[in-house]
Symmetry: D2
C-alpha cells in the first residue's frame, strides 16, 4: 500500500547487523552509541546497548536509528558502567518486535549474559527444535537465542567453556560480542565470514565490525580478530583462544563490493580503493565508447570513478539523489502511482540530453531499480545507455547474515546477460568477471579449488552447509515465528 523507498526495495542486498563492544572506559555507553552510529549502514531497523556495572546490567533497545534513540544524555546516563556491547539490527523477517532487538540478555546461574551477533546460523531451526523439546522456552524469534540456551544448558562449569561447547554445536556465520558480568568476549566463526576488529581507545579495548567505528571515537586499530578466534577481555587484558578446528578463510567478498563503508579497511584492504580498482577492472574488461560515465548514486560512485579514470571518459553526476528519503512514502492513487520512482532519484536532463552514457552500479539483484533508472535516462535524452556492473551476476542466496531474495527473484538466476540487457532495456550490459573481481582484490585470480573469499552469491559454492535450508525443514519453520502473534 506504499510506494516504498525501503532499502529492500532499493534492490540491494542488505547486511544484517553491526556489533560493537567496549571494555574499560567509564563512558562505555556513549562510545558504543558513537560506534553503532558509524556502523548504522549495517542495520537500520533497531539498535540496542547493554552495559554492566557492579553486578547489575543496564539495557536500552529501540526500533529506529542510533541517532534517534541514543542521542539523549538521559538515555546514556541510564547505561552506566565501564563495559558495554551494542548492536545494529537489520531484520530479515520484518518482525522487529522489541524482544528481537539485540543485544539479547539472559540470567544465568553464574550471572547475567548479554550477546550481540552479526551473521546467521544455518542450523538454528534444528537446534531450536531440540531445545524446545527439552523444555527451553524461547523469548525471541532470532537464531541468536539458540546460542544462549546452548550456553545455559551446557554442563561445563565456566561460561567460557560453555560458550565454546555451544559454538561447537552451531553452524553458520557469526561475529559475536558478549558481556558476562565484567568480561567482554569477542568471537569470529572459524571461516571468518563477517569481519571483526580489535581497537584501543585510551586504556580501553574496543571490538567492532568495521574500522570506521574505531575512527569515529579516535580509537587506534590494533588488528583483525582472526577467523575461529575467541578473545576474552578483562582486567588482565586481552586473552586470545582458538578453540575450534581450523577452516579455510572465507571472508564475504560482498563486504568490499557493497556492504562495508568505503572508509573501512577489512583484513588489510581499503574498501574505497577496492571499489575503484573494481571499476577500473570493469573498464578494462568491458569498455565501450561513450560521452559520459554516470554513477548510480550512491553505491556506484567509487566504481564509476575508477571506471572513468581508467577509460578516460568524463565523470558526471547525471542522477541526483534526494537525501531526505525515508523508508516509505505515499502511494497516491493508481493514476499517479508510477510517479514513485522519482522519490529518490532524478535525472539531471541538462547533463544527459544528447549523450551516450555508461551507467555504473555495484550489483543487480531483482533489476527493478535498474529498469527505472534506464527509463529515466532515456526520458532525459540519452542517445545510448550502457550499463556496467561492478560485480559478477548475483545468482544465489546468502545464508550467512545477508538479506537476499530467493533465487526466483534474482534477475541473474533466471536470465543470461543478453536477456537481462533486454529486460533492463540497455544498449549493452556487462558484469565484472569472477577473476576480474579477485584481481581487483590484489590476487592473480580466483583459486577455483579453494576460493580465497566466500563468493557463494555469485558461484553457488557454499563453504558452510546451509542445514536448515537443506529441504527437510519448511520455509515456515525457517522463519522462527512463534505461535504468538
Amino acid at each position: 500500500m506504499t510506494l516504498t523507498t525501503n532499502p529492500l526495495e532499493d534492490d540491494k542486498l542488505r547486511e544484517e547487523c553491526g556489533v560493537f563492544g567496549v571494555y574499560g572506559h567509564s563512558d562505555s555507553a556513549a562510545l558504543t552509541a558513537l560506534g553503532l552510529h558509524a556502523l548504522q549502514h549495517r542495520g537500520q531497523e533497531a539498535a540496542g546497548i547493554v552495559t554492566y556495572r557492579e553486578g547489575q546490567f543496564y539495557s536500552h533497545r529501540a526500533a529506529g536509528h542510533v541517532g534517534d534513540n541514543f542521542n539523549q544524555e538521559s538515555v546514556i546516563n541510564q547505561l552506566p558502567g565501564a563495559s558495554a556491547i551494542g548492536h545494529n539490527r537489520y531484520s530479515t523477517t520484518g518482525d522487529t518486535v522489541v524482544r528481537n532487538i539485540q543485544p539479547l540478555f539472559a540470567d544465568f546461574a553464574s550471572g547475567g549474559f548479554a550477546i550481540a551477533h552479526n551473521g546467521n546460523l544455518t542450523n538454528a531451526v534444528a537446534l531450536r527444535r531440540e531445545l524446545v523439546q527439552r523444555g527451553c522456552l524461547f523469548q525471541s524469534t532470532t537464531d541468536t537465542e539458540v546460542i544462549i540456551h546452548l550456553i545455559a544448558t551446557s554442563t561445563f562449569d565456566t561460561v567460557v567453556d560453555r560458550t565454546v561447547e555451544a559454538l561447537e554445536k552451531v553452524e553458520g556465520a557469526y561475529s559475536l560480542v558478549a558481556l558476562h558480568n565484567d568480561t567482554l568476549l569477542g568471537v569470529r566463526d572459524p571461516y571468518g565470514v563477517r569481519p571483526l576488529v580489535l581497537g584501543r581507545f585510551e586504556d580501553a579495548w574496543i571490538l567492532a565490525s568495521e574500522t570506521c567505528a574505531l575512527d569515529i571515537i579516535g580509537a587506534e586499530f590494533v588488528r583483525d580478530i582472526d577467523p575461529g578466534e575467541m578473545v576474552l577481555i578483562d582486567e588482565d587484558g586481552v586473552q586470545s583462544m582458538r578453540p575450534f578446528p581450523e577452516q579455510p578463510r572465507k571472508l564475504c567478498i560482498f563486504e568490499f563490493i557493497y556492504f562495508a563503508r568505503p572508509d573501512s579497511n577489512i583484513e588489510g584492504r581499503n574498501v574505497y580503493d577496492a571499489r575503484k580498482r573494481i571499476g577500473a577492472e570493469l573498464a578494462r574488461e568491458s569498455g565501450v565508447p561513450a560521452d559520459l560515465i554516470i554513477p548510480v548514486p550512491d553505491s556506484g560512485v567509487p566504481a564509476a570513478l575508477g571506471y572513468a579514470e581508467q577509460a578516460d571518459i568524463t565523470y558526471e553526476l547525471g542522477i541526483i539523489r534526494n537525501h531526505y528519503v525515508g523508508r516509505t512514502f505515499i502511494e497516491p492513487t493508481d493514476r499517479i502511482r508510477h510517479l514513485g520512482v522519482k522519490l529518490k532519484h532524478n535525472a539531471n536532463r541538462e547533463v544527459i540530453d544528447g549523450k551516450r552514457i555508461v551507467l555504473v552500479d555495484d550489483s543487480i539483484v531483482r533489476g527493478t531499480t535498474s529498469v527505472k533508472i534506464v527509463e529515466m535516462m532515456r526520458a532525459a535524452g540519452a542517445t545510448e545507455v550502457h550499463m556496467r556492473i561492478a560485480s559478477p551476476p548475483t545468482t544465489h542466496s546468502c545464508f550467512y547474515g545477508v538479506d537476499t531474495p530467493t533465487r526466483d527473484q534474482l534477475l541473474a538466476a533466471q536470465n543470461d546477460v543478453e536477456e537481462m540487457a533486454r529486460i533492463i532495456a540497455v544498449d549493452s550490459l556487462a558484469f565484472l568477471t569472477m577473476d576480474g573481481l579477485y584481481r581487483a582484490m590484489g590476487l592473480p585470480g580466483r583459486d577455483a579449488k579453494t576460493p580465497q573469499y566466500c563468493d557463494a552469491c555469485f558461484s553457488g559454492e557454499y563453504p558452510i552447509s546451509p542445514t536448515d535450508h537443506s529441504g527437510n525443514i519448511s520455509s515456515d519453520q525457517l522463519s522462527f515465528l512463534t505461535q504468538l502473534a
Copy 2:
C-alpha cells in the same frame, strides 16, 4: 516527588489480580475485555488478553486500565478466536514492565501455552533458583513464570499431567486460568485462598474471579470452582479433576471486608450483605452515643449503613470524594505540600459542624489516611470523633497475593488499640472482634482449631507455609529482580 493518590498510599491492602477465561464464543476477546473491566478493582496497573484460533495465539498486553487499552474495535479485532483468557494486574514490586504483564505465554513443544494467575506462590524464589541452575532462562520477574518452566521441563507427556506435576511442586495461593491450544484450564489451589467461578454464556463457558464479571456479560452463574479442583474445558464440555491432596478450605476473609465488589457473591455469600452485617455487628459490639454515622468513602459505605441502621443514628455523607483522582498528582513546593491530603477527600463542613460523629472504615493499614481524615473532621467542627473499623486489627502481612506492607509499617502490629486511638487522635477507637467477624459471616464464631477462612492478616496463623519468607532468603532475592535494569 509526587503527592500521590496511588491506591497504595490510600492506606489500603490491595488484591493483586483478576482473571477471566472464555471457551466457545466467537466474541471471546470482547467478552474477556468486558469481564476484565468488571474485575478492574482487582488490579489497575495493567491488563492483557490472549486468544487462540487455528494453531495461532494472539496477544495484547498494556499498562493501564482495561477501558483504556481494549476499547478499540481494532484491538479486539486483532484478537480473533473462540477461546480467550485475560488478566488484570496489580504489581507488588512496582516493576510493571511489559514482560511482566499477564497472561504470560510460552511455546511448548506441544503448542502454545498462556496463563493468568491470581494469588502468590510462597516458594517461587527457591524453585526459580533451581530452575535457573538447570539452564532455564526467565523472561519475567513474576512468580507465575516458575509454573511455566515447571510445566515445560516436566517429563510427563500431556500438558495436563505436566501441569499437575508442576502445581504439586508449588506452594501458595493460586486461582489460574490457562489456554493450551484450544483447551481452557481453570485451577484453584487446594486451600481455595482466591475465588474462581464457573459461568455459562449462551453456548460458551466462562471462568472468572468474581460473579460480577459474569453479570456484566449477562452470563449465568453455574458454581464456584472448588478448592483443589482443576477443570478442563474443550469441545467435550467441562471435565473436573481433583488431582491434589485435600486441604481445609481457606478462602481469604478479606475478600468480604474489602477486596471483592459488593455485588459479587463468593461461595454463596453476597459481599454487600456481608459488609452491612459486619457494620451491624460492629454497632452491637462497640456502640457509642453520636449524632451522625459518616462513612470513609467509598470502602466504608456498606458497613456504615449497617452500623447506622443497627444503631439507629443518622447516616450522612460528611466526606465528599473527588472521583477524578488519578494515581498521582503534583507535589508543589514544600510550603503547600500538606495540601495534598485533600486531593481525594473534602469534609462537608455544613454537615459536620457541631456534631458528634462516628467514622466507619473497613480497615486500618498504616493509619496515615485515618490521621488525615480525623484531622479534617475536627477542622470542620466535629465535637467528638469516634472511629469504628469493620475488621479486626491488621497485624500481619499477607503472602498469598495481596500487597501488604511489612509488619513494621502496620499500625496495629506496632501498637495496641489505645495507642492507635491516640495516634489517630480520636475520642474512641474500636475494631470488630474476630468472633464478630465470623458471626457476620453467618457462623457461630471462629473455629480456633481450624478457622473456617484464611484470616492470617489478623491472626498470624498462616495456613500455607511462607517458604520464601522463612529466613534463609533475603528480601532482595524475594523481589525476583533480574540483573537487567
Copy 3:
C-alpha cells in the same frame, strides 16, 4: 462505533466549565492545578493554565483531566509567576482542538491578555460576523474569543474600560477570570447565572467557580462575587466595580440539583443540604409504599437519603457503579452490543430480589439511562419499581453554558408524565413540583413574576434573550465551525 459511557450518553446535562484564578502567590500554577482538580466535575475534556511573570506569559493547555496533565513538577515549573488563571472545559461541539482549550490568550498593544470563561454568550454569532466583516481573524471556534476581539478593537484607553465596553456588547452568561499583565480580573454577568467566589489563601487572593476549590487549598471563603460585579486584583488589593445596569438575580438553580459539588456552598446555601431537602420534599409530595429507597448512583444519592429519611424507608445500595469507567468502550459485535449497559452499573440482585423499590434520580434528560436501569431492576427481581425525580421535568434547552439536547430529544418536552412512566416502564413516576423545588431552597415558593433563580430548563422562561437562537441564524452558523477542518 463504540459503546460509550461518555457523560453525554449518561443522559445528564453538563456544566461546561470551571474557572480559577490566583493573585499573589509564588506557587500560583500549583494552586491553580489543585483548584481545577477540585472543579474537575465542571469540565472533563481539557484543562489549561496561564501564568504571568515579569512581562512574560506562560501557558500549558491539554486535552484530558487536570490530574493527567498537570501532575508533573516539570509542567508546573514551566508555569512560573505569582498570578495565574485556569480553566476546565467541557465542549458542546465536540470540537476539542487545542486552539479551543482555554484560557485563550491574545497580544494586545498594552500587553498580553488571558481569559477563562464559564457560561455561554447568546449573541456571539452575530457579534463574530460583524467582527470578521471588519477584518478580525478568529483563531478558535469559541464564543469567548468574541470578547477578546471586542476588547482589542475597543477605542478606550485602558484594558478595564475596554473590557467594560466589550461586555456591554455581549449578552449571555459569563463568569470570567482574566489576566492582563499582573492584574487579575473577575467578572460575573449582571444576572449572575454562573457562580464565582472570592477567597483568601495566605496573602494571596483566589477566584473560583465553587467553594470546594477554596477548600482543596485550604483557602478561606471571603464572599461570592455579586452579579454584575467586576473585581480588579493587583498589588493594591481587591477593587470592586459595578459597571453594568442592575438586573434581577438569576443564579442557575440546576447548580443545586446536579452541577455543583455537594460540598460547595453557593450564595450561602450548601449543595448537599439542598439536595437532601429536595429529596425530603419529593417524599412529601409523592410518597409511595415501598420496601427500599435505591439511589441511581452517584447523582441520586443525596436526594435518595433525604427521601428515605423523610419517608422512613430503608435506604439500600441496590445499584453498584463501576468507578473505572472511562469515556468509551468496545462495541463488540452486534450479538453482544446490548451488554454495554452494564459497563457502568450492575444491579445487586441479593438486595433487590422480591422488593418494592423507589429509584431516586436527580433528573431525566433523554430517558435512555432510566429505561435501562429500570429494566435491570426488574431483571434483578424487583416486584414494583417507582421512580422519583428530584427536579421538575426538563422541558427546555439551556443557552447559558450547559450542554442540553434540543427539545426534540428531551423526554419531558415530548411527553407528559404518564407517557414517560410508560416509556420508562415504571409502576409510578413523579417529578418534584416547581414550588417544591423553591421550597427546598428555603423560599415560600416560586415568585411567578420574577423567579428567584433561572429555571428556564423547566419553565422555558429565559431571563436573557437567546439572540443567536432566535431564528435568523441557522444552526450551522451557531456551531462556529470555521472552514478549516
Copy 4:
C-alpha cells in the same frame, strides 16, 4: 547540551522555505506531498498542506520531514479536493510551534484563505506593531501573518485587490502561493529574490519553488513566474497581472551556489552546470599544484568536479559522509566531547596519506566546520592542505529569507583572507572573485551599478531596504516573540 549535527551547526546558510501549489487535479494533496518532498532541502523543520473542496478547507501541518508526515494514505485522504498548497519550513528562530507552521489559514468574510511564503519581509515588525495597535490579534510569530491581516483589514472588495493593496505595503522578498476558495494565487515580489515556476501536469496547473518539484511528478515546465507578477489560476486558466511598479531583477545568486537542488533550472540556468562552471572559474583564478582535488561532501562536489576537470588533477573522495546523521547526537562527557566532529565526516586515510590536497567547499560561514575538516585531513596524513571556496567571502547577513548569522559571527566579516587561512590552518586559501562568479553565470562580469543578481551577502549592497533592521527596532522585537511562552 548536545553535539549537534544540526544544519545550522553545519556552518551553512539555510534557505528558509519551499512552496508548492496545484490547481485542478483530484490528487492535489498527493501531488503536493511529492512536490514538497522534492523541495525538502529548502526547509526541514516542518511541512504543511492545505486543500480546498466545496466550501471547506482541509489542513495537515506537522513538525518534521514531508516523508514522515505525509506518507500515510490516511493523511492524504483527509486532504480532499482539486486545489492544494503546501510549504516546507526552516525556522530562523527555532520556535517551531505548530501555530507557526505554514500554510497559515484565516477565515475572511469572503471565505477561507490559506497562504505559504518563501522569503522574508523586511518591514514586518513595523507593520505588525501598527496592526496590533488597531486591534488585530496575531496567532503566530511569523512575518507572513502580517500579509493576512493586511488583506483582512483592506477596504477593497475583492481578495485580489485586497492582496495587491497588502503587498504594496510590505517590503522584502516573497514568493507566495495562496488559496482563496478554489482560486490558486502565485506572486513573486517585484525584485524576484526567490524563484517560483509554473508547470503543467495533465490538465492541472502547478506552482513550485524549483523545477525539481515539477520533475518528481512528471510535470512539464511552462515558465518562470516573473518578478512582480501575480497569477490567478481558476477554471478559466492562468491570468497574469503585474500590479506593482517595476524593479530591477534581483534573483538571489546564492540559489546557484548552494540553496537550490543541482537538478533544478532557475531562470533558464541549470544549477549543477553553474556549480561546475564556478569550480572551473575557481581553478582558473586560484590554481595550485596538488595531487588530489577533494570535495567537502556533499555541497562541494559539483564545484570540485569542475575544478578537477579544469585543473586536470585527480578527483578523489577523501572524506566519507555518514548519511544517517540526524539533527542532534549525544554529548557524552567532557572527555570525549571532541569526538563529535566525526559524527558526520570521516577522512579516508588510505586516500589522503602523503598527498598534497585541494579541498573545495561552496562557502565559509563561521568557519567552524572548515577548521575541523582541515585538522582531520592533516591527521590523515595530508602533506599540504589548500582550500578553495566556490563563492566570494560571505561578509553580510541576508534579510530576504535566509538564515544567516549576524556579522560578528561571519568569519569573512571579521577577517581578511590571510587571517582566515591562518585560523583554518591551511597552506593556502582562496575565494572566487565577484566577477568570476558572474562570469560563471554566463555574464561578462558584475554590473557594479545595477548588479544582475542580489549578492548582498557578499557585497553588502541590499536592493531592498531592511527597514526592521535599520536601528530603531531592537533585535528582541525582531524576533516577533509574543509574550506567551
